[in-house]
Symmetry: C5
């Protein structure tokens, strides 16, 4: 999973039916000091995250396991809000 | 999911049967200021997107969940047209 | 999906049984002007592509949906031969 | 699979129900001397790894196969503790 | 699929039960002259590859299709030993 920071929201009136009602947030990976890993992406919020919070994001088909409807076309889901992290 | 800009269409007369009738569009990732994340790719349009529009794209096997035939060999689908995005 | 150019063939006498009879071609991503996205890879040809042709490639588990035997250990398949592409 | 070094733990009180009870560790890829491959990530520990240990990590949907509940939204799992590695 | 060179073996006494008996080899991608694509990784050997051999590697969930137990937490498998490759 990725650690990221929620930096915004995204709105899309015209979208896939199964995405309706899902909160789409823009996440910036944290600690990715290297090229290619810093690009922000959009994730479905599953834990009521707020802008500025540090979150845990699951990517790929596993992200769908966090959704009420696992048949939605989703490849990223916010699955936790990080309280702390002790890196040696 | 990725935020991208639709920059073109692609035609392929000789193609997998299950891709027939699907609109194939070229998408350039947006906000990917880093190397490796800017490469354009092809996605199936599921929301009648037009060239120049900013779109939401689902990647990987989850993309197939947006298709009428989820057994098609597709790894990217345009699933929303972005109205707005408030990045803090 | 990726747009790529077929640049060669690959032979492997000792290989997984379910790969027998599949044509393995070397593909170079096109338009990936960025580092990390230009590395060539091997894809199973599903549309009788030839060397030098510009092709549409599906990656990941979705690639298996293009195969007669979707249980083969394949993560890339050539699913179309590109006639044209109008990038704005 | 990736070889990585465990460099920390992560806590998230507010998280997906199915992640409860899982030990979340921060892993830094080893030997990834190239940009884009060094970004640390979070993996579920399945073999009682400790901080500082060199571990084997499975990524993507395959990671869920290491979990008691394979329906959890997990995309990385520590599946081995590396004793040795003889690189020619 | 990736073309890679087998550069070593990996041992892990403490590991996931379903990985027991599988030969874990370190593979270095070949031809990946770009950053981010050269990082070595670990793959399960399915065709009795030896150190120094050039091999064909399947990545992601498709790798599991090469295993006797497709429920093992594996994301990379050596599925062929390359005899030849004619790049135009």
């Amino acid at each position: 999973m990725k650690i990221g920071k929620v930096i915004g929201n995204v709105w899309a009136t015209r979208k896939e039916e199964s995405l309706r009602g899902l909160k789409l947030m823009v996440v910036q990976p944290v600690g990715a000091d290297e090229a290619g890993e810093r690009a922000s992406f959009v994730a479905v919020d599953c834990v009521s995250a707020g802008i500025g919070e540090t979150v845990l994001v699951t990517l790929g088909s596993s992200a769908r396991k966090a959704l009420a409807n696992p048949e939605s076309p989703v490849d990223a889901a916010i699955v936790g809000i990080i309280d702390g992290c002790d890196e040696a």
